[in-house]
């Protein structure tokens, strides 16, 4: 019902399919996302959540299906092109370069430059990194430490900061809180609310169902490569959501 497309949709993914050898990871998934909307994407392990979102972020190319951004068909085949459309993602596996420092990871691929684009502007990079981390209340004392020296939670915070820093219009977070302490989880949820109020569309994947009810407008349930349900987060109960995820009441 709420998958009905409207002209104001920021993102529409239509009939997305993806196979990995013998594995049918996505079997025709359709998903829409409005401006400023927060959608929770849930489902069992291997349901296809990460694959679907990697496709939206340009990191994986689908076998078939189409993506509309602001109503216009988008045919991107790389993360760079997705970035240019304002789509950013926090990956489940974080995808940081351990040997590069915190500031370098934040700005990887988009480094401030000097000397006509020839040189890295390290000074600007560290100053801006400091500013962004402080604003996000991420406690990392040194921006010139290699990321491998950080704790798991700090690394996750860096990955989140990287996605938020470049002013996304669509922010995808694939289990962003898995390694975070309670107070940091609160900060991330608060961050999601803040950016959504500014009109950023957010997709949140998490197995912490209680978090979803705090920030989400809609809850989309995936099951074995399909989108099984699209629920209103304000009217759905936790029990009903769990039933949808585990698949009771559905013919398998």
């Amino acid at each position: 019902m709420s998958q009905r497309e409207s002209t104001t949709d920021r993102i529409v993914m239509r009939d997305i399919r993806k196979r990995y050898g013998m594995v049918d990871a996505l079997r025709g998934v359709t998903l829409r996302l409005g401006p400023g909307e927060v959608v929770g994407l849930v489902g069992d392990n291997a349901a296809g959540k990460s694959t679907l979102m990697k496709i939206l972020a340009g990191a994986v190319v689908p076998d078939s299906g189409e993506i509309l951004v602001d109503g216009a068909p988008a045919t991107y085949t790389s993360p760079r092109e997705a970035h240019e459309l304002g789509i950013e993602m926090v990956y489940q596996d974080l995808a940081l370069c351990d040997d590069i420092d915190v500031a370098g990871n934040l700005f990887l691929g988009r480094e401030p430059r000097t000397a006509g684009g020839l040189m890295l502007d390290e000074r600007a990079m560290h100053a801006q990194a400091r500013e962004h981390l402080d604003a996000l209340r991420i406690r990392i004392p040194l921006t010139d430490l290699p990321v491998r020296a950080l704790s798991g939670g700090q690394r996750q915070a860096v990955a989140i900061a990287r996605a938020v820093t470049f002013g996304p219009r669509v922010l995808i977070m694939d289990e962003p809180t898995a390694a975070l302490a309670v107070s940091e989880v609160r900060t991330v949820l608060e961050l999601i609310r803040t950016v959504a109020r500014r009109g950023v569309s957010v997709i949140l994947i998490t197995h912490r169902l209680q978090d979803l009810f705090e920030v989400c407008d809609r809850l989309c349930v995936m099951y074995e490569g399909t989108l099984r349900a699209d629920l209103d987060a304000h009217t759905t109960s936790l029990e009903a959501l769990v039933e949808e995820i585990v698949g009771r009441g559905h013919a398998a």
């Binding site: 995808a95 691929g109 996000l136 491998r148 820093t165």
Partner: protein
């Protein structure tokens, strides 16, 4: 794009940045470079006292002239190894470029044209290496091992196994034999390339991406960097550097030979690993590489002065490589993983 997103009035929870924490971080990342610098110093002292002629101006300049080709290729190899690759074909490329330079000049080519042609051929070899490994995911080890054989064979076929003299009155001979302000031209060239290499490695986005590639190539790709182009470029660097090294070797001897540069790849890789660059990628140091090359040059030179059989030098070089990798993995990596 650069207005920071604030979540709520931020209490200043930022920890105090101590000078010491930063210093430790810096020191530990460079611990192996410092170590190889220490080794170089010790070697210099040992040979200075044990071999009379070691610290003469002539000998030092001679040493620099001899180690220049290794240093030039090792600087380029630092990029390849840091990106997570390896290039075993550089020794063969040295032989091919030197041979073809001599053959072309003997055939009446303009020496400048011949020089440009062999350097471009070097770049083309790098293109082939990079095309297979970066664009088609074939391990660089196998690609460049195959190329080692192909290029060496081509050099042998082109020369029929004979060495071709380069007339001493052609200007290119000054590249190997000449001096500028009393300093051998190869040493000057090596210095210039080392400084340029350091600059690109440490100060430019390309250098940053080379590190990123060796560290986590998928992360780099997801950050929107054209990873395959970076992966191809590093092989163009090594092969071009190897062609230049081949020119230096051939012009120093005033003769192009298909037997030049045998085991050269081993010497180059030893210099790089000795300098602290990780064979697994992600960690590299141009300064370390330069020091590593100097250590190898000093050992080879010093042992010759002490009349040690040259066969031992080869044994020693292999032993140094093994030891360097061992230390790199067992000891120095421990410094780098946690600060």
């Amino acid at each position: 794009m650069n207005t920071p997103v604030t979540t709520e009035p931020a209490g200043n929870e930022r920890l105090v940045v101590t000078r010491q924490a930063r210093l430790t971080a810096k020191l530990t990342t460079h611990v192996q470079t410092v170590a190889v610098g220490g080794v170089l110093l010790v070697l210099l002292l040992v040979f200075a006292f044990s071999a009379d002629q070691f610290l003469t101006v002539n000998n030092v300049l001679n040493l620099l002239r001899q180690i220049a080709p290794t240093m030039i290729v090792a600087v380029a190899m630092t990029f390849v190894i840091t990106s997570g690759g390896i290039d075993l074909s550089v020794g063969s490329t040295v032989a091919l470029s030197g041979s073809l330079l001599a053959i072309a000049i003997a055939a009446g080519w303009d020496p400048t044209l011949a020089l440009v042609a062999v350097v471009l051929l070097g770049a083309a070899i790098g293109f082939v290496n990079g095309w297979f490994s970066a664009y088609h995911g074939i391990p660089a080890f196998i690609v460049t091992l195959a190329m080692l054989s192909i290029i060496r064979g081509t050099a042998l076929r082109a020369t029929e196994g004979y060495s071709t003299p380069i007339p001493r009155d052609t200007w290119v001979v000054t590249l190997g034999q000449g001096r500028l302000f009393g300093i051998p031209v190869p040493a000057i060239l090596a210095l210039v390339i080392a400084v340029a290499g350091w600059f690109v490695f440490a100060k430019t986005p390309f250098g940053r991406y080379v590190v990123g590639m060796g560290s986590n190539a998928e992360s780099l790709r997801r950050s929107g960097v054209a990873v395959r182009k970076v992966g191809l470029s590093v092989f163009v660097l090594t092969s071009t550097a190897a062609a230049v090294a081949g020119v230096l070797v051939a012009t120093r001897l005033a003769s192009g030979s298909a037997n030049a540069g045998v085991m050269f790849e081993l010497e180059v890789i030893t210099a790089v690993v000795l300098g602290g660059t990780s064979l697994f990628g992600g960690r590299g140091s141009i300064v370390g590489t330069v020091l590593g090359a100097l250590v190898l040059g000093v050992i080879a030179n010093g042992l010759v002065l002490l009349h040690v059989s040259p066969f031992y030098i080869q044994i020693l070089q292999g032993a140094i490589l093994l030891l360097a990798i061992f230390l790199n993995q067992k000891i120095f990596s421990r410094f780098a993983t946690r600060t």
